[in-house]
Symmetry: C2
Subunit: 553 residues, 2 copies
Amino acid sequence: MAVSFVMRKSAAVRFRHLFNRSIAVLQNHHQHKHQIHHHPISSSTYSSLSSPLFSSRFLSSSSSTSMASSDSSFPVTVHNINPKVLKCEYAVRGEVVTLAQQLQEDLKAKPGTHPFDEIIYCNIGNPQSLGQLPITFFREVLALCDIPSVLEKPETPALFSSDAIERAWNIIDMIPGQATGAYSHSQGIKGLRDTIAKGIEERDGFPANPNDIFLTDGASPAVHMMMQLLLRSEKDGILCPIPQYPLYSASIALHGGSLVPYYLDEATGWGLEISELKKQLEAAKKDGISVRALVVINPGNPTGQVLSEENQRDIVKFCKQEGLVLLADEVYQENVYVPEKKFHSFKKVARSLGYGDNDITLVSFQSVSKGYYGECGKRGGYMEVTGFSAEVREQIYKMASVNLCSNISGQILASLVMSPPKVGDESYELYCSERDGILSSLARRAKTLEEAFNTLEGVTCNKAEGAMYLFPQIKLPQKAIEAAKAAKTAPDNFYCRNLLHATGVVVVPGSGFGQVPGTWHFRCTILPQEDKIPAIVTRITEFHKKFMDKYRG
Amino acid sequence: MAVSFVMRKSAAVRFRHLFNRSIAVLQNHHQHKHQIHHHPISSSTYSSLSSPLFSSRFLSSSSSTSMASSDSSFPVTVHNINPKVLKCEYAVRGEVVTLAQQLQEDLKAKPGTHPFDEIIYCNIGNPQSLGQLPITFFREVLALCDIPSVLEKPETPALFSSDAIERAWNIIDMIPGQATGAYSHSQGIKGLRDTIAKGIEERDGFPANPNDIFLTDGASPAVHMMMQLLLRSEKDGILCPIPQYPLYSASIALHGGSLVPYYLDEATGWGLEISELKKQLEAAKKDGISVRALVVINPGNPTGQVLSEENQRDIVKFCKQEGLVLLADEVYQENVYVPEKKFHSFKKVARSLGYGDNDITLVSFQSVSKGYYGECGKRGGYMEVTGFSAEVREQIYKMASVNLCSNISGQILASLVMSPPKVGDESYELYCSERDGILSSLARRAKTLEEAFNTLEGVTCNKAEGAMYLFPQIKLPQKAIEAAKAAKTAPDNFYCRNLLHATGVVVVPGSGFGQVPGTWHFRCTILPQEDKIPAIVTRITEFHKKFMDKYRG
């Protein structure tokens, strides 16, 4: 079922609808018309319609947990929890993934029961889970910071590079009392923020202030913090791309705001049109929605496009003109694969236009989970917060304080990715070869998979200029759509489930990200190791052919 | 100003009141009557009244950030952000701490300008910031997990203990694909949850299910998650102790619920009376508040009491009878300093009563930040979630999924604290001596500080049976109260500011935790290193004498 962007006025009705659906496990998936309404959508409408199978996961996982069966015998039930939680959806770890985990357990318990011998998780940007190795220098520094006593031992230079040892000393000396196990300043260790600010300055050619940096446990908590700050009620909206990374819809739902969609244009390589932004903003205003911010994901997730500098300038001007906070998701800033495109931070673009703190309110999100580093498990990241008043900054600081600080290893790693080894450092050569090896391989994988998808009947796939994903469109035969309906699921979900059962490859249905109603997509990461790509291509190709043969009608 | 627990009906009026106060920087601090109303208080009432100086921090910190001065020229202002954020307060990193940071900068820039040469941060349970060393074994394992390539090097056994090497191998082998840098399962790595469940079983003598464990970045995000789940509106209440750890009031405020206070009885060593719980629950019900959960902090923060098993049984029965979720903050489970008391987990107590998953809904919070480990900067912790229906569990899982996973080092450390070295392991002896050294020293420090406080004029201080804090009551002379009023601050805040200026010792005013109106307290950690305690005692004693001499009237 597509994201049918119908604005509904009553949250209560919507909730009841959602809840009934969750009990009935989708009985009426296709009764909504496939049409685009250029209206803002409250979080509840969005998520209730974007979720292919709201209640399926608990059905599958309940057997392994220690609890009784009847919801109503407990004081806490789905009838009396926060309805915003019910409304929130996160397809990247949704139904298809749960199914994959079951199949994996099957494979372990009874090898040979499926037509594949391993599950390949292409559902999530989690490079190291698919075999990408960490950057040696980064890990050396992290390990040494964990155990400073080792730094002075005679055996240490045999195990660690000299610049890693030096860097670890520098970092430990930055920490008040050398206490690597203490809570830090709520924004993160000052010396690490200095390093990050310097890294931003080198990247952009414009000043960065360490007091503008808030270190966070990955980018997700930073996004939540901004949503919590900005959203007062359903009448507050956030302009988000469609397709979008579902953290945004989930966070908007959890914080009770409205997602105001703007469509990326698939026909022009997922182009971001200012006219579309304007149209959606005006429509939202007409509906009484106060639009607070614009989310831009660059390079795009799930869409992989890299914005041109000119386009970015127009976006910045639009935000200034309309008084919107620009929430710039720049976590894929190192992931650009085509020579004709380059990453430009929105802060650099704004400053190049002569816009200072008084002109534009801009938050840039960065993470250690992406790039060539791919250190998802470290939960490191930061947001650079500019153009807020002192009073509001104080409130952001207070929110950070309530959570004390982000984890110190993640903080250290965030400083390292913004300040990697330099020419002349012992690790420099190894670092470069590791980084370039990963990035060039990702570029090849993106190209191979894109070309493979484009050979499939009814499939068109834009280039992944950056990020870690492809988001092909599938024109599904009517018979497949009917089969999905009979199976009480959305057509894209139906396709992805079939793909999983046939190949072991896990991808995420487009409905988890949003798509033009009546179109069907899936998101597939480019992350499987290169030597596995040919087999994956073969398996997907064979599956697709059989699927189309079966349903071609 | 005391926490004057007056239930006000209009949130808008309250907000305006708060906001005006924030602009005027407290002009009418003492116009509220000092009386206990046994009524539930909405988060907004609570926090607006518990905050000694709402707006002071931004005034002091604004100079160091890059932004313009006028709030109204920005699209985001304190007038149009989420009012729940404005309402939230967190005194542990509040005004007195900001003042301390300024003094510290002063000291650095101009040594000798203050009557002390260092700031001693007794405001927060942050042991390693005050010189506590990490447990060697834990750090060895963490470092080795960060850099598995070192595990096989010939030099490694000279640097790391054999059981740390073995444990690191075990842990790495638990991780799918040995990918220590990958996002894990949303609840945390399964093998680590197995280890933790086993540790809980050994602690309690009752089964624990690894699928009931959710690993989190410290206990705070787990508490937020439960508040987000349970709170639908101001009409949902959470029973919280007064005094309480302000994470609870802050989280309830951020999630828009009502804090329903129950008073701990200072006269009986901060006793928790079931009759008080009943009274407050009934009063809340009469006010139309649906009370969802009871928070119990055991050992107590800021109060340091350790509950008796009998008392805990009564609490468990009360929760079962009233259909309340029991939110058990058990992060100080290793911090018990008196031989006559012992920590018992609420889960053990419930199971001893024969209560299973169908009888009581119980969440236990644990953290790597406290205990003898004190690894605050690692942001590790877990919640054990029992007695929820499958449907609600599914919602909790979904909330965890949106944030992907907690940091892996924190996850590993959580497994280590629940499964430390055993007899026969190479590290066992060192581990025991480190652990026992820290815990016995903490016990001595608690006793010394308690005795010192009790010698001060007008000060009474209950014993710290456990946790990391003392919470002495000060009977302030009328003249001091008037001086505080003239200084536009609360009397306890006034005292703490004066203490800081005179001694460099940072403590937190009682109003940040809640206290019986008209009484004044402060919270002081027992964490300064033992060799510093005599000097601290001398400085505080001298200050207090002078303060009382000045204001005795």
